[in-house]
């Protein structure tokens, strides 16, 4: 999604230039929270009016939990390997 990436990059560059303008940054961070609230509210509305999702909610829930178990297990194993190879030997 090229628009999203361009907007974010533009924001990052602007953020870099205005990093001393505390007041603007505070407003920007408040607006960020409200944009997230609004979008999650809208996601809630579209899920609430979507019969297909509502009827399959338990299946969707189980899929979500299973995928997380795989994600967590995978990342724990690779980080364990990293720990054993690079970190553990430096400890007393």
């Amino acid at each position: 999604m090229i628009t999203v990436l361009l907007l974010m990059t533009a924001g990052t560059v602007l953020g870099w230039f205005i990093h001393k303008r505390k007041k603007i940054l505070k407003v920007s961070s408040e607006l960020t929270n409200w944009a997230i609230y609004l979008l999650l509210f809208l996601l809630g509305v579209s899920v609430g009016t979507n019969e297909k999702i509502l009827n399959n909610f338990s299946q969707i829930g189980w899929q979500a939990i299973s995928i997380t178990l795989f994600a967590v297990a995978g990342s724990i194993l690779t980080s364990w390997l990293t720990y054993i190879i690079f970190f553990k030997k430096n400890e007393g």
Binding site: M8, G11, H19, S28, N50, K52, I67, A71, V72
Partner: protein
């Protein structure tokens, strides 16, 4: 924690209003959310660019410490790829996108639902909430059996804030900086990764 509850109550509020048809249909038919997402991503960018703390943390980078978020990304992608292989409901690309939330459920779920659809958005929301809860509950076990980086890996992006207290309690405060570093790097990468993948 207070922040998480506020975020979830907005989702739950929308869900209930939608389910009981308390929203004017005109409101549903007009899609404002894409514009809200554009504004959000611009604001997230400003937050990243202006954050001196994250700049300092990234300057403190060295080979060893950079391996931590890298391990989390690679391990997560290996895990969700195996998941995609063993079932038919969620494809490879979608599984990688959900995994790319790394526990940052608010941003990843709204981004995924706009770029790919609300079903995947809801899965991303629940999945990444689960990642935070699993980390909060099982950090003692992870730290004991899988080394000091395991809770940081499990926490993903949340290892810089919501799960940081429990993580440092079990792996020691000398690893706190690594935990924050890994969380910050993942938080910055998440929107880029999801936008590139979908």
């Amino acid at each position: 924690m207070k922040g998480s509850l506020i975020i979830l109550s907005f989702f739950a509020g929308g869900l209930l209003l939608g389910m009981y048809k308390l929203i004017p249909s005109q409101f549903i038919e007009t899609d404002y959310s894409m514009y809200a997402l554009y504004i959000l991503m611009f604001l997230v960018g400003i937050g990243i660019g202006s954050n001196k703390k994250s700049l300092e943390i990234i300057k403190s980078i060295n080979f060893k410490i950079a391996l931590v978020p890298l391990s989390v990304i690679v391990g997560t992608y290996i895990g969700v790829s195996i998941f995609a292989l063993i079932q038919d409901n969620i494809g490879f690309i979608d599984a990688i996108a959900i995994g790319s939330g790394f526990g940052y459920y608010s941003l990843s779920s709204v981004l995924i639902s706009e770029l790919s659809g609300e079903t995947l958005g809801v899965i991303a929301l629940l999945s990444n909430i689960a990642r935070e809860i699993i980390t909060l509950l099982f950090t003692p076990i992870f730290a004991r059996y899988f080394g000091k980086l395991a809770p940081i890996a499990s926490g993903g992006a949340t290892s810089m804030d919501t799960t940081l207290p429990i993580i440092t309690k079990y792996i020691g405060s000398d690893y706190a900086i690594i935990s924050v570093f890994s969380g910050v790097v993942l938080t910055i990468l998440i929107p880029f990764l999801i936008a590139i993948i979908l």
